[in-house]
Symmetry: C2
Subunit: 241 residues, 2 copies
Amino acid sequence: MKLFDEQSFLHQLSIDCVIFGYKDAELKVLISRIKMKRSFWALPGGFIKHEESIDQAAKRILEERTGLKDIYLEQYRVFGEPNRINHEVFEGLTSLRDEWAEQIMLDEASLQWLAKRFVSIGYYALVDINKMHPRKSELDDSVDWYNVKQLPALIMDHNEMVTQALETLRLNLDRKLIAFNLLPDTFTMKEVQELYEAIYDKPFARNNFQKKILDLNVLERLEKKFTGAANKAPYLYRFQQ
Amino acid sequence: MKLFDEQSFLHQLSIDCVIFGYKDAELKVLISRIKMKRSFWALPGGFIKHEESIDQAAKRILEERTGLKDIYLEQYRVFGEPNRINHEVFEGLTSLRDEWAEQIMLDEASLQWLAKRFVSIGYYALVDINKMHPRKSELDDSVDWYNVKQLPALIMDHNEMVTQALETLRLNLDRKLIAFNLLPDTFTMKEVQELYEAIYDKPFARNNFQKKILDLNVLERLEKKFTGAANKAPYLYRFQQ
């Protein structure tokens, strides 16, 4: 069996996903390490089946990598320079072909198909990092969360893809109230502020920030449970739109 | 010679352009009427050459249709449903093939190429309607400006493309200060207000609107020329960023 059947996909068109997660006061991005003679780092991505819409393809790719179905996800930009050719991975695959011939099942037709220019549709996704277990694709050596400020050098224009996804996230944050997708079901106001500070990479004044968030009228404050130390515990909130 | 050489373009990927213009207090969109046994209305569009970036392709297509080089233009969304197949135009072309065989030069290979699913990258553009003279493509019967509120039924999902382009324009208007691309070089404050009212399809209060626009600090007020009636003429402004 071949690793993948290139005839099932639209040619020269791909999807790349910037999957954002949030933990330990850091905004993180999910990155694959591709196993070759030397390693390459890349955004999770894939191709579009002939019978799929582009949104369905993006959802399928995300589910394959995260195990999650109902993820917040949005296309944000197409990357279409004429030199978008994955030379590194293509050369890596070619050099490994003989050695791996039986494991990876990439025949000449698949390699030729992968060696062309690809226009890529960028999607970004927001996940609750605690709910998911990243999954490797057949070509991955590992898949891990990286601080968005300390990414490794990624293949092709993938670093630029992350930069533009982050810019879009910042622009959309207030209008679409999507940041809460990055938090667990319940959270403190301090956690919301730390999340916003991680996304914008700058501090906010506590009182103004709290007022601004509460004025959005999308948070429900939970009743404190009665415990001896209850008065000192911060309120928990839940997103409700 | 063939009408076009499908081998020069990326397969199954197209660009469609929502070109906005403004005149007589109406926001307008440039629409082609395609000549067939019956007529079809469509957004101006085209394909991407192998050696072009997607932005270069969009600029080339816009220049072909408007004669203008430095147009404000922005990709805003990809349309990628699996049933995006241009049945109407394909069937129209097929039925006309014999009759037109010599004029339109569409051979079987071109027709088969056009008959597939196309993922289309939507761009919107803002032009000063007085500076341009719309140009027909080889397949067009006419190309004209239509009020965005009174568009004909367009092929495939082109009406939806206009709706989403307008939504993006509204969202970007304040942040990117792009509305002035739709006005001539000099304009009155009343004209700016009428433009915004046409784009948002709602009235604005004059004093608030004027203050908001002046507070942007991007307009230069021109000196009034000395004439007998000068005191009654409104100030003219020019965009300066």
